[in-house]
Symmetry: C2
Subunit: 729 residues, 2 copies
Amino acid sequence: MNIVGQRARRPDALDKVKGTARYIDDMALAGTLYAGVLRSPHTHARILRLDTARARQMPGILTALTAKDIPGKNIIPLIQPDQPMLAETEVNHIGEGIALVAGEYRVAVEAALAAIEVEYEPLPPVLTLEEAYEQQRIMAHWKIRRGDVKAAFAQAAIVIENSYHTPYQEHAYIEPNGMLAQPDGMGGVTVHGSMQCPFYVQKAVASILGLGLNQVRIIQMVTGGGFGGKEDAPSVPAAMTALLAVKTGRPVKLIFTREDDMTVMSKRHPGWIKYRSAFTQAGELLAVEVLYVLDGGAYATLSPAVLWRGINHAAGPYRCPHAHVDAYAVRTHKAPCGAFRGFGEPQIVFAAESQMDLAAEKLGMDPLEIRLNNALEVNDETITGHRLAGSVGLKEVIRKVVTAADWSAKRQSYAQSCAGSVRRGIGLAACYYGVGLGSLGRFLNPAGANVLVSGDGSVTLAVGTTEIGQGMVTVLAQIAAETLGSPMECVRVLPPDTSQVPDSGPTVASRTTLMSGNAVRAACLEIRGRMKPLLEGKSLPWADQVRLCVENQVHLAAQGWATPPKTTYDPETGQGEVYITYSFSANVVEVEVNADTGEVLVTRIYSGHDVGKVINPTTGEGQIEGGALQGLGYALVEEHAVQNGRIINNQFSTYIIPTAMDTPEIMPIIVEHEYAWGPYGAKGLGETPIIAVAPAVTGAIVQAVGLRLFEIPATPERVWQALRRKEAG
Amino acid sequence: MNIVGQRARRPDALDKVKGTARYIDDMALAGTLYAGVLRSPHTHARILRLDTARARQMPGILTALTAKDIPGKNIIPLIQPDQPMLAETEVNHIGEGIALVAGEYRVAVEAALAAIEVEYEPLPPVLTLEEAYEQQRIMAHWKIRRGDVKAAFAQAAIVIENSYHTPYQEHAYIEPNGMLAQPDGMGGVTVHGSMQCPFYVQKAVASILGLGLNQVRIIQMVTGGGFGGKEDAPSVPAAMTALLAVKTGRPVKLIFTREDDMTVMSKRHPGWIKYRSAFTQAGELLAVEVLYVLDGGAYATLSPAVLWRGINHAAGPYRCPHAHVDAYAVRTHKAPCGAFRGFGEPQIVFAAESQMDLAAEKLGMDPLEIRLNNALEVNDETITGHRLAGSVGLKEVIRKVVTAADWSAKRQSYAQSCAGSVRRGIGLAACYYGVGLGSLGRFLNPAGANVLVSGDGSVTLAVGTTEIGQGMVTVLAQIAAETLGSPMECVRVLPPDTSQVPDSGPTVASRTTLMSGNAVRAACLEIRGRMKPLLEGKSLPWADQVRLCVENQVHLAAQGWATPPKTTYDPETGQGEVYITYSFSANVVEVEVNADTGEVLVTRIYSGHDVGKVINPTTGEGQIEGGALQGLGYALVEEHAVQNGRIINNQFSTYIIPTAMDTPEIMPIIVEHEYAWGPYGAKGLGETPIIAVAPAVTGAIVQAVGLRLFEIPATPERVWQALRRKEAG
């Protein structure tokens, strides 16, 4: 292979660096109106009166709308029909929209928002996950019933039982949400914006406006990051903007402030995990008994799906013959939580991997040894009873990571040097990730791609998945060029446009290389197959090959499809071949903990991944570095201060994320156990880098200062307090 | 069939009537610059000096460009590489562009244009077709050498020989040319505009900017008429606008004034036809000997192709065993002539059909009889030696038209009443039209279509051909709905976008229903085929069929292709199966001629057409009515006053076209001899309605006042003068 597997430069890099890339706020149509959203100041209240009459009359104001003005259904269509676009009778979280205004100028819009008259009757809110679970405010419940847990615990040599807590995490994409909608002059509407999943947005806009899907055209602009935060959440601003555009007949733009974005948009679910594990004396995992609770916020959005992925990976990447797991998403009066890189795994993996460390400690084993003892191999079964037929590189990943890190020597040396303020430790954690949507999302699984070779040999790809910084356009261009036999420079990937390509599902779940890659490859294979007879025995440059084919009226465009192999699932037992394949990962983390201040400095991460086949080592390593760093933020610093249901730190000056200065040495290690159905053997790499970072960090902290954290992030305050408590008690 | 063949309402009608349809001048991007073109005041001159320095410095001006600023090739790519986008050393017609300006305001642009310094050295121009032919300024030459013409003339009972002249005709589209170009933020450019052939525009812009085809995205806006005038000609304003956009980094708009549009854009070629025909005593056409000359103007553009179609139909729709035809396009110092509905046929058919009348007169036959004697039937050969295998409805068309018109009775009655000022006459003429591009344009022939069925059952069609008022979107929506089994209301046809669909050739040559129709049908058949197994034995509404298929992951999008059957052509003899099929047409026209004033009033047209199969009788009749009226303009009033190479009547106040008030009763008659390869049997209908109008009109004038015109239009002035000459001599 000449192109796949080689380092290739991102075609979108230069435009982003130069500032010529066009984000949604760079798009300027003449006559565009500003949009504003009136938002609830209450966590929970009844709306007694809502009057926009005065606002409508204000200078520069074109319209002011409430739920009554919605021509279609006032519901954001997703898993459960519970979230209105505009609250009508009751608000359920701070920042929930209740009215919209469009006007000529921003000041006019702000004045009009202030002139809308609202009377609320405050109602008692439920604000914590524990309270919501106690009150059984359940929005989703999944379970695993596998083997004989009772018997397994009875025969166990050791049992480890703990309770874990994980925090909110912000996606902290550099570009806040933004949309620009315009009437298309044909009774429909076109919406440009920042997003991950144009087809979700299309469904929402169509449903709220009461239009056919082919009257709603959604076009993704260059998008400044998503990480799951722009999966379903952009449907709300898109639908709001589209409604204002249709009502005014003018283009309408809505760009969120960072404060609004952090206040109302989705974030990683806070989690609470009660985890009980049974091991044999030899350190074999026998059984787990788990209660996994996520704080879903006010509306279900993607919580049922996030929870489902979490439960499917509840035991980590290990054999686990007996399991009894209950997972719940509960409803609180806070902004909805939703998709976030890792998608329900980072929370439970923090618990599962901490349990592994604790068992090893209790059994006097090395954390590496207990993991190798239990690690999934070909023909093993996952916790969902999925017997793995192939492409299971976990043991190789673990071995390569510990070798690169010089694990055993460091483990020994750090254990011996525990004097002084700054103490060192090394930790290990592993995970796996079911690639793609799995059996729960199987209806969204197929992906299509249109490939068009022009007469000059230039190639245009249109796909339904999006570039959100992860490198999709590079990877797909490489797959196309490799398959067609063209230079990669010939290939251009268009911004997704729902009118142009089949619904290819969302850009999530590490599925893009696999699904769009297979669709692109299928289309290119078809074109190549049509070209082949003419080129037999000839050795021509690409442009001449194309010229010859055009002269002979060979069709040089094709549509490719990818439909994944079948999956299975039994909701009563949680058993089945729930995903088509799995990526595997392990991290070794080295830390320096200042025992006086509680500061934790991560100095190195060795991050290993079995991705099947890496299409582009450079963007692959970029995913690993980015994921590792985002995982460090989760492990060390990121959390929300919530007071009475209000997020206090809703700016980057108060919500702290790691910067370039905080970045340790990251050593990406890629292992390739090819997946037969993957394009050139590829699986996925988007999410494994973030999942098993936190438990490796906390494991390393244990070695450094003997402190086991059952709650993250390991902020200096939390570590310092815990160290003082430990000293005291 | 439930939908094909039924009257359907145009989906685009309401938007056009309400004024919500968006034409290019309705498109408004913030920061758009005005563009201006500095145009030559000379027919022919050397450019001695061209200095934009002062213009560039003027307030509000962003740039002023000349040919030297073109990064690619300064050539509009078409058949011959002779036309620059901006003249560099020599201008060859009045209005030719030599410099471009972009500025913030129109007044600034106009001032800057005036500030550009140019020195010309005037050169002697060649202004008439005859002069150019004498000087052998030949830009294209085609010939037919068939049978033994000499022997045929020797044995002929009668020989008719005459010279004919036909005028310029303006397309008179209601919307002048206009383009809006914008940099795409990825090194490429997007151009929206009014056009017929986005892929021609794409090639021109890419070549002039030196970009790959996949970096140039052309999107057609709602287009206010084309008639051939927006086939290739919009490439020039598109490339100008794109160059300014790339150079300034801003959106740039160029909307032609009517005066500029009429001065520089293409028009129907003036023609001169020397025609000699040989007949037997029984009125059988034995042979023709023809010299056919078209005034191509300064650059070749499409003249070679226009001329080629003309020669291929040189004898009209009749058997013609012996033929010797030479056709030339000649170069003059006037704006280039180009494509116009009928494409080189109306000129020569005016001559050929006049010859038929004259032969009938000489032989004492009825014009109907001589045509039925010679009319092409299945298994007959055309003048190019094409043996017609099927779908030849000419005789049925002629019979239906004369029956509807009550030809024989009227012919007799008008012949007897020739007293008074106002005298009546009835005329007949026929034609045929090779559908599609034929063997000359075979590389442009394939067409593709993307059909996308969304989850709610709504359907999106993307094709590479354009709606230009002719009804394409209606016809394609009907074909899609018929083939899918969906309601027609579900189907939406997108505006063409070169990045979205394969190059499907131009929207010309009555090929759109045939080519895009077949491509749409192929895609729909594929989708229907995938749906079928699931629907076996079920009777569900369309939306439920789709839902069931989506649940079962059936791919509901497909790309369809149409590649026409092979054609042949020998340029030495002009013989071959030059088109894949032919549409046939005949008109009966009734006139009232005022012998005192020369005014010709057409009171009725019976316009018959064998279209294979009519997809939509309503839009089909619309094509017939529009074509007939445009043919009447050609026959009666339209011509350009040219003084020293300058068109004097370049506004609608001076260039007269028929209005609704001038419209006679038009009786459309559709005959269906299905064409096996056509979608549901369809051929084409765009052009036959205009071709054989003028000779039917002049034939009717002969009956009314005994005056045979060898030159059109039959303006009152021309008729009055001819009548006076006739009286005099």
